[in-house]
């Protein structure tokens, strides 16, 4: 096992950053093929300075903001997944473990049920409801597990999972009470989506997500100590309770913002941190930024796949599916699981040969 040196650290992160830049540059050219706007068309329109042209509108009002949102959501979910897995010492922990996704979904479903639409200070009201629903769940989980002075992670997990199940039950109740159009809306929402209207969705999240990323990444060294054990970390000068609360609060805020805008996109927060750990090791200093950047790349590529694959599936089924897209959660699972299994198999094999 190699140690984390500055050279390795910066090489890996520069590589990820470079790939993200490439993704962003390619993004105006990749999307639903029926639009007939290619990579060159879009950039030509951009440099011609022609914001009214179809190529510009498709490339830079539809596709690039969408990729920006995918990157942002992937970064958040990858990073928060890595933080939660470290904090709970549990490889099955995800950003949604404390019930954030279910709480957010319940909030959004209530908004759909009540027929609330429109903007609130430039933010879709449905997203505001989802954000508040997610925060309510976290607040409940916190209040009921803070009987003692220090948080016990197993009780947090238990409370989070229970609250998640409760919200799911309430969501079932709402779907059963709603009419057909509302039900379709609700199911669509719960599938998760990166649909954007211009830059609105991606920009509403920045004020929440960006500060959270910075705070979380700054706690990497303390999280490394935490991995040694709570008492050992405390003896080294880590304020353990403060570390736990800070990480949970900021990871929850960022995740809630993403859930509010994109819905519950599964799998990124579970698998990306594990893939990152298999690639670069479990040192939080590289695991946190690495999971973040790989999460962004992963979700952006999955989003492209959801556009490109729908045409092929439509041809197979002899149906015209143009204009629709695969649910992003399906793509993250289909793309993520094979990568994960291959890496897991390689690690098992290398461990056997080492022994």
């Amino acid at each position: 096992m190699t140690r984390l040196t500055p050279a390795r650290y910066f090489t890996f992160l520069a590589l990820c950053g470079g790939l993200m830049l490439v993704v962003l540059i390619l993004s105006p050219g990749i999307g639903s093929t029926s639009a007939g706007v290619g990579f060159l068309d879009a950039w030509r329109a951009y440099f011609r300075g022609d914001p009214q042209s179809t190529a510009y509108r498709i490339g830079f009002v539809l596709r690039m903001p969408r990729t920006l949102l995918a990157l942002q959501a992937g970064i958040t979910l990858g990073l928060c997944g890595a933080v939660f897995q470290t904090l709970f010492r549990n490889p099955l922990a995800t950003p949604y473990t404390l019930g954030i996704a279910s709480g957010g979904s319940l909030g959004a479903l209530i908004a759909i049920m009540l027929g609330i639409q429109g903007l609130f200070f430039g933010v879709p009201i449905r997203a505001v409801w989802a954000f508040c629903g997610a925060l309510m769940v976290i607040a409940v989980v916190f209040v009921f597990t803070r009987g003692a002075r220090r948080l016990t992670t197993s009780e947090l997990l238990l409370a989070g999972v229970t609250m998640g199940l409760f919200c799911s039950a309430m969501m079932m109740l709402l779907t059963s009470l709603s009419n057909a159009r509302q039900t379709i809306d609700m199911v669509r929402w719960m599938m998760g989506s990166l649909k954007t209207v211009g830059h609105l969705e991606s920009t509403t999240c920045w004020p929440v997500t960006l500060p959270c990323w910075i705070v979380l990444v700054l706690h990497a060294r303390a999280l490394n100590q935490y991995a040694l054990g709570e008492e050992l970390a405390a003896s080294r000068g880590v304020h353990v309770a403060r570390l736990q609360i800070t990480c949970i609060v900021f990871a929850s805020l960022a995740t809630a913002a993403i859930v509010a805008v994109c819905g519950p996109i599964g799998f990124v927060g579970l698998v990306v941190p594990q893939i990152t750990a298999l690639l670069v090791g479990r040192d939080a200093r590289i695991l946190l930024p690495g999971s973040a950047m790989l999460g962004g790349l992963f979700l952006a590529v999955c989003d492209w796949t959801s556009h490109l694959a729908i045409g092929a599936i439509g041809r197979l089924m002899h149906r015209d599916l143009v204009g629709s897209e695969l649910p992003i959660g399906v793509v993250t699972a289909v793309v993520g699981v094979p990568i994960f299994l291959v890496l897991l198999h390689r690690r098992a094999a290398s461990m056997q040969s080492a022994a």
């Binding site: 096992m1 190699t2 140690r3 984390l4 040196t5 500055p6 650290y9 010492r89 990497a220 060294r221 490394n224 100590q225 991995a227 040694l228 054990g229 008492e231 050992l232 405390a234 003896s235 080294r236 000068g237 880590v238 304020h239 750990a277 090791g281 479990r282 040192d283 200093r285």
Partner: protein, 275 residues
């Protein structure tokens, strides 16, 4: 020259209780200097680990004060405390997928507020403590693949990398083989002699405590029943009553003078174990 005159760690009438067990540790005083090696012994549940955590500042006493180099421990900031006191719990993380060298370097945590990477001075210190603990050859192995004895030595190396003046160890030899029990205590007492480290060890092994300690402190049901040089404090009668067993002794050729050999539980039920 290391100043061994003034006491490094002083406890004055320190008492502590848990919510479920108020007045668990009865008022206790001790005064320990640099270069000394203290062994805390006593039966299960006597309060040994609690006392160690109080001395390390991980628990705050209900009454009484603890002084670290003359300063009340409660007023020392966590990071400053970590530069003076290293603590090693009995339970260590079992699934630590980090290379050994990295875990040792992590002992430098309190010295670096910002910045992600340790510098050359830190790496020198890590190299030195790994040599002192005989763990250099493990540098690139993940800690999760080490044996119990090797992992314990690595964690002791990390504690030494903290460059403490006080080293607190909770049962460092529990569940280790004979070689590792002896080698770990030898490493520690060598540091005490050469670097003037004050070492406090909680242990169940009365023979090892007698052999490697300069002072022992015997706890029984939260009360300090004896403290002082091992030969004087650890009388056979006292050990028999504290541990509720019958003992035999044999003459030994080291300084502690004798071996204690447990024979059988004492008849009767003086401690309520069999209630």
């Amino acid at each position: 020259m290391i100043d061994t005159g003034t006491p490094m760690l002083v406890a004055r009438n320190v008492a502590f209780g848990f919510p479920q067990r108020p007045a668990f540790l009865k008022p206790l005083s001790l005064s320990a200097r640099r270069g000394e090696c203290w062994g805390i012994i006593g039966p299960n549940g006597a309060g040994k680990s609690t006392l160690l955590r109080l001395l390390g500042g991980l628990l705050v006493p209900d009454s009484g004060t603890i002084l670290l180099g003359g300063r009340p421990l409660a007023t020392v900031a966590m990071r400053e405390r970590a530069k003076c006191i290293a603590f090693l719990p009995q339970q260590l993380a079992g699934d630590l997928h980090l290379p050994t060298a990295e875990v040792v370097l992590m002992g430098r945590y309190p010295y670096r507020r910002f910045g992600l990477f340790e510098d050359a001075a830190d790496r020198d210190i890590a190299r030195r403590v790994m040599a002192a603990t005989g763990t250099q050859h493990l540098a690139d192995r993940p800690v999760s693949t080490l044996s119990g004895g090797e992992a314990r030595r690595v964690h002791i190396a990390a504690a030494l990398a903290q460059e403490p003046t006080v080293l607190l160890l909770d049962e460092p030899t529990a569940s280790l083989d004979l070689y590792h029990q002896l080698s770990i205590l030898e490493i520690i007492s060598e540091r005490a002699k050469e670097d003037g480290l004050l070492v406090v060890v909680v242990t169940h092994d009365v023979n090892l405590a007698a052999r490697f300690s300069t002072h022992v402190l015997i706890l029984d049901e939260g009360r300090c029943v004896a403290a002082g040089p091992p030969l004087e404090a650890m009388t056979t009668e006292l050990l028999e009553s504290v541990y509720d067993v019958r003992l035999a002794t044999a003459k030994a050729d080291h300084d502690a003078g004798r071996w204690v050999i447990p024979i059988s539980p004492r008849p009767g039920d003086t401690k309520g174990y069999r209630a």
